[in-house]
Symmetry: C2
Amino acid sequence: MSELKQHIELHHQLEGGMVRSVSMRSSLAGVSGATPTEEMNGAGNLMDFLDEPFPDVGTYEDFHTIDWLREKSRDTDRHRKITSKSKESIWELIKSLLDAWSGWVVMLLIGLLSGTLAGVIDLAVDWMTDLKEGVCLSAFWYSHEQCCWTSNETTFDDRDKCPQWQKWAELMTGHAEGAGAYVLNYFLYILWALLFSFLAVSLVRVFAPYACGSGIPEIKTILSGFIIRGYLGKWTLLIKTVTLVLAVSSGLSLGKEGPLVHVACCCGNLFCSLFSKYSKNEGKRREVLSAAAAAGVSVAFGAPIGGVLFSLEEVSYYFPLKTLWRSFFAALVAAFTLRSINPFGNSRLVLFYVEYHTPWYMAELVPFILLGVFGGLWGTLFIRANIAWCRRRKTTQLGKYPVLEVIAVTGITAVLAYPNPYTRRSTSELISELFNDCGALESSQLCDYINNPNMSRPVDDIPDRPAGPGVYTALWQLALALIFKIVITIFTFGMKIPSGLFIPSMAVGAIAGRIVGIAVEQMAYHHHDWIIFKNWCRPGADCVTPGLYAMVGAAACLGGVTRMTVSLVVIMFELTGGLEYIVPLMAAAVTSKWVADAFGKEGIYESHIQLNGYPYLDVRDEFTHRTLATDVMRPRRNDPPLAVLTQDSTTVEDVETLIKDTDYNGFPVVVSRESERLIGFVQRRDLTLAIKNARQKQDGVVSSSVVYFTEDAPQLPASNPQPLKLRRILNLSPFTVTDHTPMETVVDIFRKLGLRQCLVTRSGRLLGIITKKDVLRHMAQMMNQDPESIMFN
Amino acid sequence: MSELKQHIELHHQLEGGMVRSVSMRSSLAGVSGATPTEEMNGAGNLMDFLDEPFPDVGTYEDFHTIDWLREKSRDTDRHRKITSKSKESIWELIKSLLDAWSGWVVMLLIGLLSGTLAGVIDLAVDWMTDLKEGVCLSAFWYSHEQCCWTSNETTFDDRDKCPQWQKWAELMTGHAEGAGAYVLNYFLYILWALLFSFLAVSLVRVFAPYACGSGIPEIKTILSGFIIRGYLGKWTLLIKTVTLVLAVSSGLSLGKEGPLVHVACCCGNLFCSLFSKYSKNEGKRREVLSAAAAAGVSVAFGAPIGGVLFSLEEVSYYFPLKTLWRSFFAALVAAFTLRSINPFGNSRLVLFYVEYHTPWYMAELVPFILLGVFGGLWGTLFIRANIAWCRRRKTTQLGKYPVLEVIAVTGITAVLAYPNPYTRRSTSELISELFNDCGALESSQLCDYINNPNMSRPVDDIPDRPAGPGVYTALWQLALALIFKIVITIFTFGMKIPSGLFIPSMAVGAIAGRIVGIAVEQMAYHHHDWIIFKNWCRPGADCVTPGLYAMVGAAACLGGVTRMTVSLVVIMFELTGGLEYIVPLMAAAVTSKWVADAFGKEGIYESHIQLNGYPYLDVRDEFTHRTLATDVMRPRRNDPPLAVLTQDSTTVEDVETLIKDTDYNGFPVVVSRESERLIGFVQRRDLTLAIKNARQKQDGVVSSSVVYFTEDAPQLPASNPQPLKLRRILNLSPFTVTDHTPMETVVDIFRKLGLRQCLVTRSGRLLGIITKKDVLRHMAQMMNQDPESIMFN
């Protein structure tokens, strides 16, 4: 926790390779990004001033927090302007209609582009993953499956074998079998993996440091109102798309789902720039980005409803109903675009389509809940170990050699993965196979059951059978794969390449689930006279579906790591397409969340947000301590008094000195230092700009000129220097609370209204100020301490 | 709009028969429901005072608004107390764990009870609907279907006919056919209908006036923080369940979906009373009620995800993530309870299970969008006509004869409905038939197509065929049914019996959709050489599914009336269980919403809220006017000054006079009348209670005693009367804004923080007060006026 504090106070390191030392010393007023349009928040009769007199109007500085209320107010003003203009002419009416529709247009574009990108990524990953093993002679751009699909010599029994597809050893030496061929294939597999990952990390390092990681922690932070310039830029979009393909193809234990959310958000940001409604308003932009996140998950899993709920539950901060509906639209368009590209060749929308033929039974809830416990434990283990490793990377020499790290991890992954057929193939293929029910025609090793010779029905409803040798081999290999995945994923997530967490987590759960499923199945087959099986599992019946266990395990592990709940179940529901299996999934997801929450409330994304010290005010953290605003506000007891301006007795020189001596981002304006009655709040940036402007353009404004924040400046004798009237940059409606306000109310206000700062008064006198960062720091402090000790001291 | 104003200001009539004249004159402070625990919101060192010294602590008066911030604060306090106690002993630890789990227990109970009730209602409705036509001789408590199901003499071809089931005429006269039998059956049908509806309206009138209507407008209002005592009480639950069965069975054009939400909320309220965590906190109670609403929709349609989204999108006001997850749980439990009761006898979860066998084509979007336009127009027509009729009922003599009205409408409905087979049966059966695709074995009139004699395949994939005479008859009957349903629904919704709107709306849409569907199908069959059909509809192919059109039409009409969007599509998606048809549904839902919104922003529920003048601050209304807090606050320019108390110069007598002379619900406390600096806010109720208490128990407190709101009362000479210290009832953190704050910000604050009132200051001086009702009144005013005229005067 002290780490967090340190990070918030000292500097912000982004995951993106570059260590950016941005001064964020938050003293009295950690607020910034001022614009002279502030007066909209106050008096409403200065429309002429809206026409952007300075170039920087309406923008925020990098690594600063936006003011949601102001953004909303600005958008209403813009809307009002357009509505009133629309009555003037047909052209203005059309413009206003276009403006009203621009939201839907942006959603359509986001859906189309992110769907297309997802399709392209899928196709490229397919091809490049297969390239590690061999090449298609008839057309080198075909993946293994496409190659044999187009071949006439493919038989139904052996769909994976065709003469056009040659492994590297076969192509080079002519020998397909033998130790030499194996070694050569092994060697080339590693070489390709290293090449891909080297390319990926180099591209990230050189062109777009922000393209690394999953991106979800940063997107959460951005959506909560933080500015990280370039994080959603065009370069990031391009490089993340390319390096994502490389990283996934290299066979590292990572997925494309998280990065796809980042890619979709980059698309959203790109299209925002087409419409001034979105490009010039950081609040509106975030509405678009929330919808884009939904589109990202939608294409990642082919689950549009799940995507919207994911955005709502996990990613977004401000999610009005309008955004819900638009997100849904974007998610649907994206899903249908992806389907028309049809990268999986099965015209299914979903990533892992499964169909089970048997219901589940009450008694099976026991293994399902056990899988939930496993998922929760895995989530806890993963988060702790991964955070510890990432912290080590940040604080030691290790962090200085990101390329070497990636190369080393890729090398180890490739060396260990190749011998095991379950780790050699791509992780999504593995999950897909583990989810599948064993049909009669399945040729996989996992379906190597001993068939009853009397059975002739070619139906899907195959009774439970004893496991054959292939299944036992598969079990061993799966157990090894499980250990391997658990360990390597901890070291992989957080490296300087795009890396998602969904797929590896699901893989861990699916392997564990399948193992449990086969165990239960065999137990039910061999001991169907046991009491627990007797009621529902007669001999010759199909009682246990090991694929369902794999799916439940995957949900449990994903839930343990991310703490998703509803969206997780809905995504899984969309994968299976039936309400039938919701109860097992929910039992596992709930258990997993409870187990994981018992060890620590934060999911992996929140942990990474904390690790990186982003100023993120979590909606879910309940603040239950009994502190008051007066305990949190600055100045503290022994601090120097609050730096304020007076409404009619400060000179230009005083203001300039104040600006020079302090680094506060804004100053309260009071009637006089004696009465300390609050008039308004003025931003540092506005002050600087206004004085600079006045000194240059307004004659007679000198250092001894008095600055007036009042409505009218008094008539001064001619001998006095020209006064400087600055009421128009004054925010006349600053947010105030009394010093007796409980901090939980203050936290609530900060969250719900998206404030940057709040002034503290007592009986109308200004006492101090609380900024968002003060709130965050206070919450971090409270979490380390016993609430009782604070309550009564 | 003036009607609304009048209603808000004068009195609140609830739909429930009783006209309750509750004085709601909102003058300076339309706030109420004070408790002495208020000081928690202020100073935090008066824990001893928490132990409920007065019986009314923590409750609100009927027809008043709750203070969300205070409720939240109280819950945090309670939680803190339990947490700190839990360390003292094992027993307290167990109690704290039970407390933590009580939310889940309540959800489980709600799910179980509302699922059970829904099942019982379904069974009873089934039986009583059939009772209008005949009776089962083998067991009178069997419905028609169950009766023939258990009979051995039922053939597969004629599943509806069996000797055990006899129509009334057959039973009484022995003749099943003939004019005499028809007339007798007709007469008894009407008689039963009149009996059922008379019973329903009488029960409502006598036992639970709140049980009438759909209940959703009131639940929306309650969830937004209004108190309506008894609306969710045990009597309402019982009577609504019974009368819902009667009302639906009587054959009136109404559905059970809306009332089921009300029933589920009553269950929620019932179980809240088991746990003090929920029964004593109006804020927490509303979290439970939001989840209960989700459970209600879940059982109404068998769509748990749709139910949660309905609660989120349509009903709820404050919906934190925790509630999302719990709602989902309650909705699932309810759905599975209903499924295990299995009232439809098909072990399907959903109300209208459909499975289509053909995809849709791009060209079909044109009729789908046309259906959307129809849905929007129907929505507009229905809302306008129904509101006009309800207003007439409220303001004329008509409203005084609710029983007569119900009897008359039932009579007309029964007389007109019986001759037409599509209106005679229950509306949900009708919808179910309209949604269905015509399979090879379908015996319905709607599926009377002329089969190609060469066709022998018994598959589901039947090509388009020419319509037979049965289809043409059905078309005529459906057209008549459409007109009948449109007209009669307008008069039915709003009568003094439980009446839902979903089913009639869906019926109107489904009829229209099916007609359009058959038309398109026949066009495609007879003119498959037309350009529009050429590309996708070869002869002999199954191109058009009329059932899908019915479903799209139903979605469009439901959307037009309620303005649901995402939840509507998700409910429909759960009914079909496939993403395949989301695009048609969405196209229709969006079109319908846009068309309907063009004629008026409000859905039927918001319109009824307005009609009844409930103080509901809609989250979706965007306030875009350029007014300031100073324009809205009281006192207005010519009003008498604000009634305030001073912190140390008011006597007990002054306070008593103030309480007697005004009816404000609270008073600001200032330092002195000269400085007008705000100290805090005190509730009228607290003041009354405290003074009464002091006069009785505290010696020396007389009329001339000075009331002190300061921390310490000064030492007075013995000759002066004993002072009365009231700081502990003072809320030291009242919410303030400056007079320059734009009203859109104020509206935002009221919505997001759930305030009851807000004080207005300028430079630390108290100027006035804005209550929730002032805000509502201002918004209503603004809507009638041109924004420009307000902007610049």
